[in-house]
Amino acid sequence: MSASVFVTPVLIILLLIYCARKKVNCYGTFANGAKGAIQLCIDILPFLVTIFVAIQLFRISGLTNLTADLLAPVMDFIGIPKELTELMIIRPFSGSGSLALAEQIFSTYGADSYIARCASVIMGSSETIFYVATIYLSQTKAKRLIYAIPVALVATLVSSIIACQLCRIM
């Protein structure tokens, strides 16, 4: 148990006290805000279905393994252990998928091994880029992202390289 577990509950308690002092109608306000979630999820669903189908097909067709094999030497060259190639490919698409891969790495190499530590840092410092972009765009008329995804991918790749170097020395 680390201190971080307490951050959110404490903040919410403080918020409730503050609201009580300002005499806000907590019950009604909370319920009214929560109502917004329904429309939000209706908007998100079609996009989620689309991206989930695409990811699932990509994975079971074996194309992920193929790309991983092709990219392994490149990864090795830029200093990312080649055992992590598949994780790096899945990470931008699927949170649960990459978490399952990380578990696999932990059980194969041991949680304290260099590879497992690299995997942990990569998991902790990156996001499911395509998923974020999909959900955020579901709310807008704008559909052309121009350079957003390449920028996010490059930034993540660079930070992953740095992560692997940091794991070597720290």
Partner: protein, 200 residues
Amino acid sequence: MVLASLVTLLFVNPEDSINAMMNAGADAVNLTIKLLGIYAVWLGIIALVDACGLSEKIAALLDPVIDWLFGKTDSNTKKYIALNMSANILGMGNACTPTGLKAMQGLDKQNNYSLTASTAMIMLIVINATSIQLIPTTIIGLRQQYGSMSSSDIILPTIISTLVSTVLGVILVKICAKIHKKREISRKNRENLPKKRENK
């Protein structure tokens, strides 16, 4: 990507493809229902933050940063961007999305609902897609589960690397926005030149 996957599947194992698609659809629905609950709670809390006037205070605090990152925005959008960023930093991943989406709606309106995303919209997506989560609780828990002796020794490298990705992301967006703007201007100039001649 979908097409390539389907073609490969045709050779590898055709009967699985439809199954996989249906399962993925069901997974997406399951996730959405789960998210509905999570978003409902967070949107409720956000409504409280809003009602007691805290969100204006957070926005005022982050005002210079938001101005630099997103340019001119109206106060309502600014509020949601501020909430989104603070949720990001505090590692409340599930609170980020609903605030981010509200901010997106505001930015979309400012963008006159154009088909091309504005720089501010791209900035918001990149910041959220590079994650500024400070303490990776899920991963630490997972390492403990797999018998790690020092499950939290990854915190420092994670913080450094996540800062690198976010800062780099922000810088790259700034650079790309400038290049993009220049290109747009030169394109417009090219389009306008012949017209001007005709006018003369």
